[in-house]
Symmetry: C2
Subunit: 247 residues, 2 copies
């Protein structure tokens, strides 16, 4: 049996999970940000990560669909707007990510078709979508808490990539500009929610497990990229092959 944690202890336990398991600790992150990838490998990262970006509004809509609280829904729906944009300003997160894949020379139709995705990407991303539909609302909200750790990785990513790669510029990375303030705003809301709504020890444990699950979703996407695109000969059948990559 677990003991009841104070809200502050719960937050500290969540931060400890992020410190140990957030994907800024993954070796592929180190390669990406320190300029040790070639253009084809960065293309593979952006292509696969697009699929993750593309399901975020579906994930958030699934969460909206499970809340009976108008105030909660009013706050949460902003995430969908941020990713899908508006009629006046359609450059939401998804469009900005496509700006990055454009800048990397990938065809939009190919990117959005998902044809070249790694199966590991697809299965991890879809696991996230199923998780928020099938687990409790509390766990679904908690699984978003990786955003608590996003500002650090974004800062490292943008400065490292701009310094290291002549094939990306600030415009190509403009997705991350907005995330620098959106992610903390969203994370604070979700953190307050789980600290308030996890009223029993087992619920606090569910919250912690949900964050571990989400760290696994992010981590295993980098596992799949690292395996397929760092050493030659490991690209799965059907997946994206950068020009000139080993068959």
């Amino acid at each position: 049996m677990s003991e009841m944690l104070s809200p502050e202890e719960l937050e500290a336990a969540l931060r400890a999970i992020g410190k140990a398991r957030y994907h800024n600790n993954h070796p592929f992150h180190g390669l990406l940000h320190s300029g040790r990838l070639n253009k084809g490998q960065v293309q593979a990262w952006a292509l696969n990560r697009y699929y993750y970006q593309s399901i975020i509004p579906m994930k958030d809509a699934a969460i909206l669909a499970r809340s009976s609280d108008s105030e909660f829904r009013r706050a949460w729906r902003q995430r969908i707007i941020d990713h899908d944009g508006t009629e006046e300003a359609p450059d939401g997160g998804i469009e900005r990510w496509l700006g990055l894949t454009d800048a990397l020379g990938l065809d939009r139709g190919y990117v959005t078709s998902g044809a070249g995705l790694l199966p590991g990407t697809r299965f991890a991303v879809e696991a996230y979508l199923h998780f928020v539909s099938e687990k409790s609302l509390l766990e679904a909200v908690a699984s978003s808490l990786t955003e608590m750790f996003a500002p650090t990785i974004i800062t490292e990513r943008v400065s490292g990539m701009l310094k290291s790669y002549d094939f990306v510029d600030a415009k190509a990375l403009s997705y991350f500009d907005k995330r620098l303030y959106q992610a903390p705003r969203d994370a604070n809301f979700a953190l307050d929610y789980v600290k308030r709504e996890a009223r029993l020890p087992y619920q606090q444990q569910q919250v912690l497990k949900a964050l571990e699950f989400k760290c696994d979703v992010l981590w295993s996407q980098l596992d799949a990229l690292h395996y397929a695109y760092v050493e030659p000969g490991n690209i799965p059948p059907g997946a994206f092959r950068p020009d000139g990559s080993a068959k």
Copy 2:
């Protein structure tokens, strides 16, 4: 638009997918069967593969639950019996797989808890479970067709492992004895079904895609094992660590 294939052409197209994408082509399969893994790596394989085995009856029950045809259900339910066993003979496929993990010195409670699974295993296996629940019954049946290719891999696996590893014997590998006749029986039933029930070109394409999907499910499990357990330093947070493996 696709053309309608004859049943024989559909079968040939299915066999071509297996030839290109079945996981006997994966480098990890080569390492496993040729004796180039150590005991810890074989433990990791058996532990992760257990999770796949453990959901097979759930997968088949989901398919049963979608068929309104008593004759179909009567045939398909044998798969559940084969995996779960009977009161008189409880050594179905799952129990036999646990015999293998026992022989490899893994604790049953640990194996069945799923605590040490690779996230890549979990997400791939659960993708299979979601696929058979969410896609059409035709696609769900077609996704089982990897069993057409099972006898070859089983024969390679058993003879290679018995020759190469002093820590496994014929009893530990007895799971595979029964699969050598169960898999072809099941595959023939499913193959006849899809050849008969795919009555329109788009349905034939769905059948082919479903087999590709299932090949991806198997392939990406070996990707995850290969990445985590062949080179040092890549085991994800929380996953099984063989004794003495690099931290």
